[in-house]
């Protein structure tokens, strides 16, 4: 890869790629910190949860369950279900991490979130992305997530809610990342099926398991259509350098 120059450039590239994620993580991290503090958690406990778990929605759910005095096992089980979607994301990323050392993979896995997955995958697909740069995205985003959680727990109520439209940062980011993924007609078809399925399913199922079901359904339907029309402009032929 071009950046045999070393970890310095990898770090700079990673930070450059991570900034939209960080921008989005700040308000959510602050909100999490405020909520955790209101639930009676010490700022360092909120920070520890963000550092060790590093999964936004699961953490929000855990804190609200803590408030209701739920049992530890039910909090942990809920977390497992909420985060099962990462199975799919890591599977997709694995295609781009062939032959990478297992110690590195174990570090990389820690930072696979909806957002880092999407940003790194877009870069990997574009072809000029190295695992080293990708892991920087994961870790820098995690640091910002943890930092803003602690900041929120310490004094987040002083920050006006919804300032500068920052609440929309991650939505806008996902819209752009989705657009980047629409490389062939089959991706558009898959996205439409999956999006519609998710919208319908989430009305019926509480929590966020609709993401897994809809993604599996959308991708499988898209794959079936691809196979049905052999001339379907092979969206799947992926050859990485």
């Amino acid at each position: 890869m071009e950046n045999c120059g070393g970890s310095r450039t990898a770090f700079r590239d990673g930070v450059k790629a991570a900034w939209p994620i960080c921008l989005g993580y700040v308000p959510i991290g602050l909100a999490f910190g405020i909520l955790a503090q209101k639930a009676g958690m010490h700022p360092m406990a909120a920070g520890a949860m963000s550092l060790f778990v590093y999964a936004g929605s699961a953490q929000f759910i855990a804190v609200s369950l803590l408030c209701t005095g739920a049992a530890a096992t039910s909090i942990i089980l809920t977390t497992l279900v909420v985060n099962l979607r990462h199975l799919l994301m890591s599977s997709s990323l694995a295609v781009h991490l062939q032959g990478v050392g297992r110690g590195f993979l174990s570090l990389f896995a820690y930072g696979v979130t909806d957002e880092t997955f999407a940003v790194n995958l877009a870069r990997f697909t574009a072809g000029r992305w190295h695992p080293r740069q990708a892991v920087v995205v994961n870790l820098v985003s995690g640091a910002v997530w943890t930092g803003s959680s602690i900041a929120g727990a310490l004094g987040g109520e002083f920050i006006p809610a919804g300032a500068f439209g920052i609440d929309y940062a991650l939505s806008a980011m996902f819209i752009c990342l989705l657009v980047i993924q629409l490389r062939a007609p089959i991706h558009v078809v898959t996205a439409v099926i999956s999006g519609a399925a998710a919208a319908v399913l989430c009305l019926e199922i509480p929590g966020n398991s609709h993401v897994i079901y809809a993604s599996l359904f959308g991708a499988t339907a898209g794959f079936a259509l691809l196979k049905l029309k052999k001339h379907g402009r092979g969206g799947g032929k992926e050859k990485e350098p």
Partner: protein
């Protein structure tokens, strides 16, 4: 009390880490069958769409479908900007600006 919390955090960390780690550990060292790679190639578009569509069009508790609301209306120009520029930074910043402006107007 704090011991309980530490156990909860440790448990959450473990059950979050394993699904992130397992596929990387299992899949990155073997040749994946072509059909599986093709199917996986559709997963990102599927996941991103499954994340963003409910985010834009579903609101409230209990959840209900709200087709026209601030976040979905702003999504249209944001989508056009994303299609036109393919730039993450530009899309995020203009999305924030548009959402903020829409909040002032609506």
């Amino acid at each position: 009390m704090t011991m309980d919390l530490a156990l909860i955090v440790a448990g959450m960390a473990l059950v979050t880490y394993v699904p992130r780690w397992l596929p990387l550990f299992l899949l990155s060292r073997r040749r994946l069958p072509q059909w599986f790679v093709q199917w996986l190639d559709l997963i990102p578009a599927a996941i991103l769409s499954a994340l963003i569509v409910p985010e834009l069009f579903v609101s409230g508790e209990p959840r209900s479908l709200v087709l026209f609301q601030q976040k979905s209306l702003v999504a249209l120009p944001v989508l056009l900007i994303a299609l036109k520029t393919k730039s993450l930074g530009l899309t995020v910043v203009s999305g924030m600006l548009l959402f903020w402006l829409a909040g002032k107007i609506l």
